[in-house]
């Protein structure tokens, strides 16, 4: 059965839990699990084998840490090795001194080249203020040129094409056109081609020879299986790749292909595609990816997302209120709006620490629509003064939102719990002396502008605390934490919340399962905290 890498690794770590020391004996079981997990995640077997032997050396070697539990040491070794294997990160595209800089995009059919061209154009224009020209050199697939033209119109990027010319000539003319129009970046969109198709591979080599690209990028599907090694190798031989962009990472593929491709080409992974919109292109981060694989979540990604989408003032005001105890339904409402701005809930959850295993859980986005409908059905006064919502008013709200009275009551209960939890946290932070740096950091995160840390981090962190509350139960309780501001997040309460809100298709439902998950996640959070200290 399909299991995510995270799940498998979690399993292998539990085998080592409680033991004091790693020995070449007790590490074997864990290594085997890691190898199996990697292979189930579509990492090529050879790459997986090399990886585990390197982990073994590292875990048993001189980095051995005193007083650390065996499982933690093992995780550390796996994580470090993963980061190392997938790095270096944030390798950006080098611009040629006298422009234009030429970027050649190549890959198999259906990898996502054309879409990625547009994403890259938008990204480089925003970050580097480049004047971009896209060249449509895919004359093989019907309407591929038109597709790029449409994307060009959508993103205000000029597209060049020379009707009736062969792709190498189209590209050569495209670069000349860029020079003429003063564009400083040319992105060449080539046809998808099979790595065993000699004729087509020769064509792409000819394009490269004619245009002398500064970057030759392989666009690869994150869902690719064992074949990733073969195709990447073939493209690398023909093109001497300078980078890789991994697409479709917004699905549930763990992206084992990333490891394989990195290993065989040595080319850095530059970006990852995380959605269908033209701005769904993220810089690749080896650490983040490793963290994601190990079930530590993608907190950095979440904060990035928060930074992009959320108004800082609004967020800060809301969290101050949270902590000061004047938290109203109106605040809860705007918080819900902020969380939803981050993207589909499922994506947000997948990025959260400890939630990796839940990645295949079904999140029904409509439950949030329903929540919003309830808020909309209230008067502004009711939202500001929740205590005025008596039964008659609640009934009206329910009717207005087309939902049963119970839904309003659930919402009120959640609001109260959230308020309580926030208050407790506020007291703790403002009143007593807190020893732990983590705790203060956690609070800083909640108030949105702490001095302990980068305010943007705080925003994301606090927001997540809020998310916990939003989704049900006392999400935010005090506690030292792994990522600042995230410490009080109890992932289990999220789950519980999701269930309580009637997520229709969760695989395990019912109170027992929720309880079990909750306990498990709590234990996990504790372990993480310990590790951090």
């Amino acid at each position: 059965m399909f299991e995510t890498l995270t799940k498998r690794l979690t399993g292998s770590f539990s085998l080592l839990r409680g033991r004091r020391e790693l020995t070449s004996d007790n590490i074997q079981e864990g290594l085997k699990e890691v190898r199996t997990a990697l292979m189930e995640a579509d990492v090529h077997f050879q790459v997986a084998r090399d990886f585990t032997s390197r982990v073994e050396t590292r875990a048993l070697g001189d980095q051995r840490m005193q007083g650390v539990e065996a499982s933690e040491q093992f995780i550390h070794a796996v994580h470090q090795e993963l980061v190392q294997l997938m790095g270096p990160e944030d390798a950006s595209i080098t611009f040629a001194a006298p422009g234009p800089t030429v970027v050649l995009m190549a890959g198999l059919q259906g990898a996502g080249k054309t879409t990625t061209c547009a994403k890259l154009a938008v990204h480089l224009r925003e970050t580097r203020h480049s004047k971009v020209l896209m060249v449509a050199a895919d004359v093989k697939r019907p309407a591929a040129v038109e597709q790029l033209r449409v994307l060009g119109r959508q993103t205000d990027t000029p597209v060049f094409h020379a009707e009736g010319k062969a792709p190498p000539e189209v590209c050569r003319l495209g670069v000349a056109e860029a020079r003429r129009t003063g564009a400083d970046l040319v992105i060449l969109d080539t046809a998808g081609r099979l790595h065993v198709d000699d004729e087509m591979m020769a064509e792409v080599a000819e394009i490269a020879a004619l245009t002398q690209p500064d970057a030759q990028i392989l666009v690869a599907d994150a869902m690719t299986g064992q074949d990733a090694v073969r195709s990447a190798e073939a493209f690398n031989q023909k093109l001497a790749l300078t980078g890789v962009i991994l697409t479709k990472l917004d699905g549930d593929a763990r992206g084992g292909a990333a490891l394989s491709i990195k290993q065989v080409t040595g080319a850095p992974i530059l970006f990852v595609g995380t959605g269908e919109k033209v701005d769904d292109l993220d810089a690749f981060s080896a650490d983040r990816m490793a963290g994601r694989i190990l079930g530590m979540g993608d907190v950095v990604g979440l904060v990035d997302q928060a930074q992009k989408n959320i108004d800082e003032g609004e967020a800060q005001a809301s969290f101050e209120k949270l902590v000061m105890g004047t938290f109203t339904l109106q605040d809860m409402f705007s918080m819900l709006g902020m969380v939803r701005k981050l993207g589909p809930m499922k994506k947000v959850m997948g990025m959260m620490p400890g939630m990796g295993q839940l990645a295949d859980m079904d999140v029904d986005e409509r439950q949030f629509d329903r929540l919003e409908a309830l808020f909309h059905s209230m008067t502004p006064r009711e939202r500001l003064r929740p205590q005025t919502l008596d039964v008659a008013r609640r009934r009206r709200v329910a009717r207005g939102a087309g939902q049963p009275l119970g839904a309003v009551n659930d919402l009120m209960k959640r609001y109260q719990q959230m308020g309580k939890a926030m208050k407790k946290l506020g007291k703790l932070g403002l009143g007593s002396k807190i020893g732990g740096k983590d705790k203060r950091a956690a609070l800083a995160g909640l108030s949105g502008g702490g001095q302990m840390m980068d305010p943007s981090l705080g925003r994301g962190g606090g927001l997540m605390g809020g998310l916990g509350g939003l989704m049900g139960g006392a999400g935010a309780g005090p506690g030292g934490a792994m990522p600042p501001g995230m410490g009080d997040m109890d992932p289990a309460s999220l789950m519980g919340g999701a269930n309580a809100m009637g997520s229709s298709a969760t695989r395990q439902s019912g109170k027992d399962a929720a309880k079990k998950r909750k306990e498990k996640a709590k234990a996990k959070a504790r372990r993480k905290n310990r590790r951090k200290k």
Partner: protein, 309 residues
């Protein structure tokens, strides 16, 4: 070059790559020992068989201990038998006796839906059927244009919207009505690629399906999932979730003309019992074969007769 030669050439390309690794394991007439079994397991893994690789090797080890297997040929036969036993011959999807047969084509982004539709259309127009295409991919830029070009090349009808972002269910509705009115034999409804994890988009697909069955209660007769043959274990998850949402009735495995083996279909068959109808073996209109378990398995385990060609 004749059609059969070309076909053979394409399949051989796949087969060579596949059987290479298995034959490589035995090169030099090795004995069956632990090391060989491990190499065999790895070779099977590279066919994207996933955990099945270990199961197969365990079975071989068991039989070897009982003295049933002597050398390469025995192992190959044993593998072949086990793999074949796991595949249902999907056969060609059946057309209805009267009225149009409706195909709904679904799959993740870039799996090859539109190209596969063109090939299926070609197959049926060649057989003298009247084919109508519904351009239900209203999301991806120029997807409808792409389908329209294929329709022209095939001499098939097409129903499309000219603005992007149109409701795909509405396009499907129009296509079915047009198909019924014009007396089409086969209606192929294209849909936008979507990752199986995107709940909203999956719901949209369920709506397309519902709307189709409103026009014709028994339609869609076939809901075909197009799988990218180069995908690994994630294909299983795709099959699972698409089946949950739109009751997929069968699969088409595209892009098998490279070195990828599409081994994930074994798990898909075991899990969901989803028959494989077609395999895509190239970029041209004729490059569509009815799925043949024997050829598929031979491609994985290789056979001396073929490897010499």
């Amino acid at each position: 070059m004749g059609l059969l030669d070309r076909l053979k050439q394409r399949l051989t390309r796949t087969r060579e790559a596949l059987s290479d690794s298995i034959s490589g394991v035995f090169r030099g007439g090795r004995e069956i020992d632990q090391e060989l079994l491990q190499n065999l397991e790895e070779a099977l893994y590279t066919a994207d068989l996933g955990p099945l690789a270990s199961q197969l090797v365990a079975e071989i080890e068991r039989r070897h201990k009982r003295g049933e297997l002597k050398g390469e040929e025995d192992v190959r036969a044993c593998l072949r038998e086990q793999l074949l036993g796991r595949l249902d011959p999907g056969g060609e999807p059946l057309l209805t006796a009267s009225g149009p047969t409706v195909f709904l084509i679904v799959g993740v982004n870039g799996s090859g839906k539109t190209t596969s539709i063109a090939k299926i259309a070609h197959r049926y127009t060649q057989a003298g059927k009247k084919v109508l295409l519904g351009a239900g991919d209203t999301f991806r830029a120029a997807a409808a244009d792409q389908l329209e070009i294929w329709a022209e090349r095939n001499g098939a009808d097409i129903v499309r919207q000219h603005k992007t972002g149109a409701d795909p269910a509405a396009v499907a509705f129009d296509a079915l009505q047009a198909g019924v009115a014009r007396g089409s034999d086969v209606i192929l409804i294209d849909t936008a690629g979507r990752l199986h994890t995107q709940t909203n988009l999956m719901e949209e697909l369920a709506k397309v399906r519902r709307v189709i069955s409103k026009v014709l209660p028994e339609a869609p007769h076939h809901t075909l999932l197009v799988l990218d043959g180069t995908n690994g274990q994630n294909a299983i998850q795709q099959a699972r979730l698409f089946t949950q949402t739109v009751e997929v009735s069968g699969a088409l495995v595209a892009k098998l003309d490279g070195t990828a083996r599409g081994g994930a279909v074994f798990a898909i068959q075991e899990d969901l019992g989803l028959p494989i109808h077609f395999v895509g073996t190239g970029e041209d209109l004729q490059d569509l074969e009815v799925f043949d378990p024997g050829t598929f398995v031979d491609a994985i385990v290789g056979s001396p007769a073929h490897t010499q060609s």
